[in-house]
Point group: D3
Chain length 137, copies 6
Amino acid sequence: MIYITRRERFNAAHRLFRPEYSDEKNLEIFGKCSNPNWHGHNYELFVTVKGEIDPATGFLLNLKKLSVIIREKVIHKLDHKNINLEVDFMQGKLASTENLAVGIWKELSPHISNLSAQLHCVKVVESENNFVEYFGE
Amino acid sequence: MIYITRRERFNAAHRLFRPEYSDEKNLEIFGKCSNPNWHGHNYELFVTVKGEIDPATGFLLNLKKLSVIIREKVIHKLDHKNINLEVDFMQGKLASTENLAVGIWKELSPHISNLSAQLHCVKVVESENNFVEYFGE
Amino acid sequence: MIYITRRERFNAAHRLFRPEYSDEKNLEIFGKCSNPNWHGHNYELFVTVKGEIDPATGFLLNLKKLSVIIREKVIHKLDHKNINLEVDFMQGKLASTENLAVGIWKELSPHISNLSAQLHCVKVVESENNFVEYFGE
Amino acid sequence: MIYITRRERFNAAHRLFRPEYSDEKNLEIFGKCSNPNWHGHNYELFVTVKGEIDPATGFLLNLKKLSVIIREKVIHKLDHKNINLEVDFMQGKLASTENLAVGIWKELSPHISNLSAQLHCVKVVESENNFVEYFGE
Amino acid sequence: MIYITRRERFNAAHRLFRPEYSDEKNLEIFGKCSNPNWHGHNYELFVTVKGEIDPATGFLLNLKKLSVIIREKVIHKLDHKNINLEVDFMQGKLASTENLAVGIWKELSPHISNLSAQLHCVKVVESENNFVEYFGE
Amino acid sequence: MIYITRRERFNAAHRLFRPEYSDEKNLEIFGKCSNPNWHGHNYELFVTVKGEIDPATGFLLNLKKLSVIIREKVIHKLDHKNINLEVDFMQGKLASTENLAVGIWKELSPHISNLSAQLHCVKVVESENNFVEYFGE
């Protein structure tokens, strides 16, 4: 069993808030991340997959294919977008890094299985001081 | 003459566009940075000042004071904000990294002189692949 | 189950030695880290907690609160201090990175439980080439 | 149980290809990594060992000794070398990062046990976007 | 006058040697970098251009265009290549980082002028410990 | 004219204070950096030299020799030391990063001239947020 990780990046705007709350209440709960005019981040996404090495190639899987899947299924939807307003798999959810990691897992997981590997971890780095990891359960 | 640099960080949303243009024309000129729903970055700001070492302290200047000035005069206005909508010194300007660097220079410059040092460089890092430097002229 | 990590930093002096040994014997066992005049590091501390996402906030926990706990309980005691002489939870112990990671775990653990999350890992980075991880057992 | 990680680095040339294939077929399967004239990387190697803290030293093990073992047993063989042509433990294998991680594990594992610690993970970073981890099974 | 820097990366093999010398003499002068079987690096290239901000766009220049020029004129020739054997603008030169920086400058310079900006600096980072800068004279 | 930079690192303890002041007055002026029990840093040192490329080698100078000089003349004196108590070229000076950069310049400058190159810049990085540069005048 070998683990391989691919990093991709995206820049996005978001806001943490509950629409049924006032701006004041959102500020109290979510702090400056609730700014109604949005703010944003350079996110880093680390996708780790696991499986057996294919003796014919020396690879767990073709990393180019993994990169294409990550870009098509999640980066394309997130990069230079507003996470709250424009990302289909985040609709109806709070745009937290935790929910983002779970959402990305759900988007990627079925496509990874097609590569004869398993998704192991989705790690979303929001800043140099904060990151979230999700292992699927 | 010694040069000392302080790094501060801010997360902000922005959009590159001219209001008199259609979304299509903005997309053509500014690419995906023109997204009407905003996007954002983790910006890094490096402020370099220069001057003589004070023999009484071994310092060019008190770095705490420099940090306080940078935070009060620019980080406080930029962090978790929308650069286009909320930052006073960027009103009426395109929210490019170039204009941001010049704008930050103008905000900081008078306050640095009070520290018996001179502002030498404002460097704004937008992503790991792009940064802008401004030396005041 | 989601994992979230917060980074904090501290600068400290330390020395590796056993008081009952001569300087020569300490030098033999601990190398240049035994210098009787101390040396120091920019330490990075990564604290990982785990638990369920709270559907009301989208958070595992309020990261601000986690940061305040880490700063109050450990950074405040370590930053710009001498680990051997001034840090209460390191008294009577060798000031190794291993013991530091275990000590920080013991300081933090009871306070994390109050946040309806569990401490998962304490990682202490001593230099770009060395780090220690402790998972509580 | 404590985990300690040591980073070492090496610069090497390699090529991904099967000798029984034509250059065209190798290009199709391995992409530009199959270039017959070689290419290369600054590899980073992270070796993680685990075990109990020795109360006499505060150490899991002497990190100097670990570093010497890593340098003698693997870095010395890999640094400024051609992985395909010159590295004994990679002969007859495809020079992929996956095989490299497994090969390094086999080289290091017997020597770590002599340090009263266990090898836990070999991580090989090929670029800022790709890395492989192997845990020995 | 504003300065903007774009980073691009390439992985390449090279060897430092003079063909008229024996392997022993090359080893004496160039050290392990003279290995006849090649070695390689993850190079980072930082290209800095300078000029006036265009008031119509807020840009010094279109960074996309700059990136395309750097990729077409130099990265395409260098990435996953052997610098000694395959890079046209390095033929007949020692494949040192110094010569690489000067060679890249000459390749890029005429194309930057077409962007109504001037090339200011080519910086080539060979490892985390070594880099070279060339300012054109 | 080409510029080449070598990075070296050292870990040291220091304290900012004037011996004729009380601990209280030192605390007021130098903040927590005045802790009488010392604190410390992982310092990074970047030494930039400039000159002409030697056509016989493709080098400005032999980087190995530059590294040896930096290690012998400054790193050896600073690494795992107390800057206030043990570093000869810092005696009688405040142990600030500014004075450290100037002191390192004076130690290195005569030895660089022997390499048919000129010292251009000494940069001392004290933390990820602060660094000092000295250009010799």
